[in-house]
Symmetry: C2
Subunit: 418 residues, 2 copies
């Protein structure tokens, strides 16, 4: 798994019910262009990207809640609050985190140079970095890249940009969808990177989504929160949240029509398409999780509250014991129910039921009768499966997506910086 670019007809990544744009991404919406560049920050590959709207745009962004945010997060937060960014310059190889005032000055300088080269105001340009914590940026190379990128902008470079922002990712991640409002057709699409340090609280990793609809900045923030809550806030690879997580959403109105706004025509279609794109990108991250060999959907139903449902999902999805069992193909429902019991969610042994896909393994105090048959072994061999828990306590449900814990995860993270 995680070796090839997602197929446009893979229902795990592009679920039915959305009007997907095959091969689409951050430049599927009108007026958006991208560029990729090899600045020499990482050997032998593109390591910088620029995303750019030809016309002014509104923007909204969510950032990591880590109390040690990287310099670019500190820099971008007030810009995003202003709501008029139309571009983002991104580098990999160095997170520019924990680098003090000197590191912050590097980000300011990057933003200034990139904006000047692109012909926009400095406060229209977000600056994003990802990579190793604690190292200073190689500014000569970075600024050369910032100056070179605008000349390379193209509508066809969305995929190249998605590839340029990869770190330990093994495949680029893109999704785009169409929606209609007021007789017009719009597009919303994006790209993201990330496969380790994945446990979102707000946004996670680097995620850029664009649309050619017009949306006022405050409304864009509303839509962004809605989309993030059901996508990037519902995935986990290892329970860690990075210093650099950023989810930026831009709207440039290039498709025409009046601004979309909550309660008005087209708003629901916009939010629905945006949420689908965000969920697809989030699922792509899980599927490309560091060392992942399985895609596991953790679904909890029958919870006494929405908070209980989510807490139980997250506790299961973050349990190293459960994740290692998934890796080994072991249908270890004991670790599932133990995680539920640890989550703080109201639950009772005699009301709980557990399934692996369609095979019931635990039924209210007893091993389920069909748990021994060969179907269970078949489920555990699948690349993607669902563990579903019915708490029998109420009517609330939720789902979280996770990967397994493999030898390869340990290998990757045992020597990332060395």
């Amino acid at each position: 798994m995680a070796q090839s670019v997602p197929s446009p007809d893979d229902p795990l990544i592009f679920p039915p019910g959305t009007d997907w744009i095959a091969g689409g991404g951050a430049t599927s919406a009108l007026g958006w262009r991208a560029a990729a560049y090899a600045a020499g920050l990482k050997a032998g590959r593109d390591d910088m990207a620029l995303l750019f709207s030809d016309v002014p745009a509104t923007c909204a962004a969510l950032f990591t809640s880590n109390r040690v945010p990287a310099a670019p997060v500190q820099y971008d937060r007030p810009l995003a609050e202003k709501g008029r960014c139309r571009a983002a310059v991104v580098n990999v190889g160095c997170a520019n985190a924990c680098t003090g005032p000197a590191g912050y000055a590097d980000t300011v300088e990057t933003g200034r140079v990139a904006a000047e080269a692109a012909g926009v105001a400095p406060d229209e340009m977000l600056v994003c970095s990802t990579g190793t914590i604690g190292r200073r940026l190689a500014m000569d190379r970075l600024l050369a890249g910032a100056r070179a990128l605008p000349a390379l902008l193209s509508r066809d470079a969305g995929a190249a940009a998605a590839r340029a922002i990869m770190t330990t990712d093994t495949v680029p991640k893109q999704a785009a969808a169409r929606f209609r409002a007021g007789g017009r057709e719009y597009a919303v699409g994006g790209m993201c990177k990330g496969s380790g340090m994945i446990c979102p609280n707000l946004a996670t990793t680097l995620i850029f989504v664009t649309t050619d609809a017009a949306v006022a900045a405050p409304d864009l923030k509303t839509a962004l929160r809605e989309a993030a809550s059901r996508s990037f806030n519902r995935i986990t690879v290892d329970g860690d949240q990075s210093t650099n997580d950023t989810f930026a959403l831009f709207a440039n109105g290039a498709a025409g029509g009046p601004p979309l706004a909550p309660g008005a025509e087209g708003w629901d279609a916009f939010v629905q398409a945006l949420s689908a794109v965000a969920l697809s990108l989030a699922r792509q991250i899980v599927r490309d999780g560091e060392g992942a060999s399985k895609f596991v959907t953790v679904a909890v139903e029958g919870a006494a509250s929405a908070a209980d449902a989510l807490a139980a999902c997250r506790e299961i999805a973050n349990s190293p014991l459960f994740k290692a069992a998934c890796y080994g193909g072991d249908p270890n429902w004991g670790r599932v129910i133990s995680a539920v019991g640890n989550s703080g969610a109201a639950c009772e042994e005699l009301k709980t039921r557990i399934w692996f896909d369609d095979v019931c393994v635990y039924d209210r105090g007893k091993i389920a009768s069909d748990a021994d048959n060969g179907r269970l072994a078949g489920v555990m061999r699948r690349r993607a499966f669902e563990v579903r828990v019915d708490l029998g306590m109420g009517a609330f449900s939720d789902a979280v997506y996770t990967s397994d814990l493999s030898r390869e995860y340990v290998d990757i993270n045992a020597d990332y910086t060395t």
Copy 2:
């Protein structure tokens, strides 16, 4: 590491400042005997143990806060509340968790038979199980063991009992210490098991500690909470808390003298010795953590509150990214500071300092100047080292003990039940 029985002069396990009893354990205190028996629950080894006081005793116990407690935990909780248990029968191989009313009845029957065979009242006998969740006990074998154990009781069998209660442990775990009060000499000693599913909130794993001092049951509970808070509540292997965790403390008064009580002579000496024994047992568990190759002390100082200090310790100690880096010998302080930032503890990039043992790697916004020298590589090759974080925010400190995340951890947990 984790291959041989701890040496009595290993300062990591038996720190100076306590009057350790070399080779001591749960039968070091007067009037305590133990027995081990091969009931056939696990092939080719002892798999049941009995701990027994020749005279009536008081007891107190802490149990898992998991909401799906195993049958023995449900059974023991009210017994421990009565405070007059003098014995415990233990089996491995089966946790008797999530087995419903039938499983609970099995525990009741085990306790009845074990008490009858040992010649005590049923409410004087705790019943403890550990092993796989969801399976029923092999009652014929278990009851045969319960009947056979009392005849095997001996003061010399402490080590054999400690060995009999091992599951994925690679070494038995014992500690005992002497203390003096009112001109008399007392002993406090114990045994425990556990190497996976280690992340205590109350008690964790199975832990049995005895003393020959007299202590009223409510006071014993006070001492137990104090000892647990600084030992078993400060270790983590994988962030999971089991369905069966139990920490039982017994006092039989066989050494004579008046009951020890808070505020009276000898109380502090008792609590100090008890805490030292509990801490030693807890450290032995970390050192024997599943797949562990490193013993890592995570120390946080300069925190704005006690809660902040502990939260930061725990977030670092539970980070799979940090633990995998420890396994790889990578001094990845970026993952340390990122975990601190995620912990919710008040912290600032420009006030934080980080050391690996005596080597400062991060100093308030900058990579420390001595981080590059060869000493750091030397620290990372050590079997045991400390990562120390000074938050520079206040005067509170704490420490948590953890192990690394290795390929072996994944291997062990990928096929535990199969």
